[in-house]
Symmetry: C2
Subunit: 335 residues, 2 copies
């Protein structure tokens, strides 16, 4: 007999993490990219308990997307080497973490962000280089000059980062590899001008083919989603949204998880383990799908995009078999 | 001199509510649908401070989509007449609210949900009728029988509800009115079989043309979004997401609000007050747009869909002119 909560007892919607799939994903990645070769990106899960599992697999450095994520990691005792892979104009909260003994390195891509890092009390930066995605990062030709400016401002320049975000999701593996090469050649050239030990890049879609980066910033691999699921990567879907069929017409079913339970930018979630099922549409608190199932039935959805899905939920239930073996707060939400 | 926080001092991304537009929206709706003619839907904002403004305008009954929203409203002292316009299979938490003195009415559309309401300690229900949207609601022909079953189970049946969600967003006003009529004729017929005082229906898109419902469940009118903004309704955009330009290339700008700051199911947010601006795409924590603006510039986005946008944020800053006059927790998130 056990006192453990079972999945059947959960109120829905609820995030479920399959402990076994999670551990397999972590182990698979730690074998491919051991220790410092992987700098797991916490934006994918926003959960310090999950980050602790990644640290236990040998990864001591982490990537963050927000100041709040840095603060959460430090509070959890996981602040040995955090890279905020994003630009900030007010770095005071990061400086406070550094003053408290954490190691926080921030991305800079302009004189203004260099100044902000120095003014905020951050001591270490990487030069963020645009490698083809129209987003952050300086022109590769400007990277050396920006590194000089950072050093003049009293900052230590640890190297470069450049995210090939326009490549990570390409369905064709050969094209993904070829375009990663093009992107990383820009980053490597910028690195020659910048110096420092870090060449930080990559994501779940390019972790295996990006052989130029000294460390890969993959995040999604640990939980996965249906978008990355299409790429044939050796990672399993560890996260589902558990829902209950609360209504139905004989032609369709209505589950009690909707737009506020799923990141929708990559499209509708998919029903897991239900052959021939089709999601019709999501409303705020509902998903209508076929086939018609009895009211009371439980279903599981695999989200199309993991990151904005996690950001909607307060906690995740870690399960093994039908039992809940842990409850993890999604404690790095917000900004 | 004032000690008030200004918008310029806010860390971004941040939800901004324009106090003046908000009050105009509330007043406009209270004139069109005074007192009990409107049962504001709190799912649109998930904020008890905002609900309190709606109550002050004369609306004492509210619509909720989740149990958590009911609990939040009761905690805030706004539990005089809550309608959970959704089906639940475990009504125990609702029963606890009723036992504590709140009035909570729940939607039922099947024998199973009738049983759940009675078993959970809820005393009042409405019969949820499908009026054309493939989602919840019983067949109109079954409504009377379901009401009988509810009464046999000891429940008081307050009437019917039926949401014309397939109609509220139609761009053509005449088509919206005509399809509302078709939907509401189904509801009125079901009401004749069910009895009770309530014929609850409608939303922001049909508040003016739905003359069959005794009360309208509109929510979005109070803050608005770009989807409803296209319908020519007399409500202004009261909510924006404030963001900072953190990077740019000379061809584009990157703002620090992305997929975790906007509900994306209706598409990209729009830049407010910036003629000719175009959103290129949103990433987890970024939106890339043109034109190229200086790093440090502040911009405001109007979300495409208000409800899932609010659910991402912990608080909203209520502003008048450039000053923050209040900070409202988004305190009814989660389930």
């Amino acid at each position: 007999m056990t006192d453990r909560l079972t999945i059947a007892q959960l109120q829905t919607p609820a995030l479920l993490i399959d402990a076994d799939v999670l551990e397999r994903n972590i182990a698979e990645m730690a074998t491919a990219l051991p220790g410092p070769r992987l700098r797991p990106h916490v934006k994918a899960h926003k959960c310090t308990d999950l980050a602790r599992r990644q640290a236990a697999a040998g990864h001591q450095g982490f990537t963050c997307a927000t100041i709040r994520e840095c603060e959460g990691m430090v509070t959890a005792g996981l602040g040995d080497d955090l890279l905020l892979a994003n630009e900030v104009l007010d770095a005071g909260r990061l400086g406070a973490l550094v003053a408290g003994g954490a190691r926080v390195t921030v991305a800079v891509d302009s004189p203004r962000t260099v100044h902000a890092a120095a003014a905020g009390g951050v001591r270490e930066v990487v030069i963020d280089v645009n490698v083809g995605l129209p987003r952050c990062g300086c022109d590769p030709a400007d990277a050396g000059q920006l590194a000089d400016a950072a050093r003049k401002a009293g900052l230590q320049v640890r190297g470069v980062m450049g995210y090939e975000g326009h490549v990570v999701g390409l369905p064709d593996a050969a094209e993904r590899a070829s375009k990663t090469k093009t992107a990383m050649e820009l980053l490597v050239a910028a690195h020659a001008d910048v110096g420092g030990g870090l060449v930080s890049a990559g994501g779940t879609g390019t972790y295996a083919c990006n052989t130029w980066a000294s460390e890969i910033q993959a995040g999604s691999y640990v939980l996965m989603d249906t978008a990355y699921g299409k790429l044939g990567l050796p990672f399993g879907q560890a996260l589902h949204v558990l829902a209950t069929v609360i209504s139905g017409s004989g032609q369709w079913s209505v589950a009690d998880a909707g737009l506020k339970a799923f990141g929708m930018d990559h499209g509708n979630p998919e029903l897991a383990g239900l052959d021939g099922a089709t999601v019709w549409f999501c409303s705020d608190e509902h998903t209508t799908f076929s086939p018609a199932l009895p009211v009371g039935e439980r279903v599981r959805f695999a989200p199309a995009h993991i990151d904005p899905t996690m950001a909607y939920h307060e906690r995740a239930y870690v399960c093994s078999g039908g039992e809940i073996v842990d409850v993890w707060p999604i404690d790095m939400r917000g900004w």
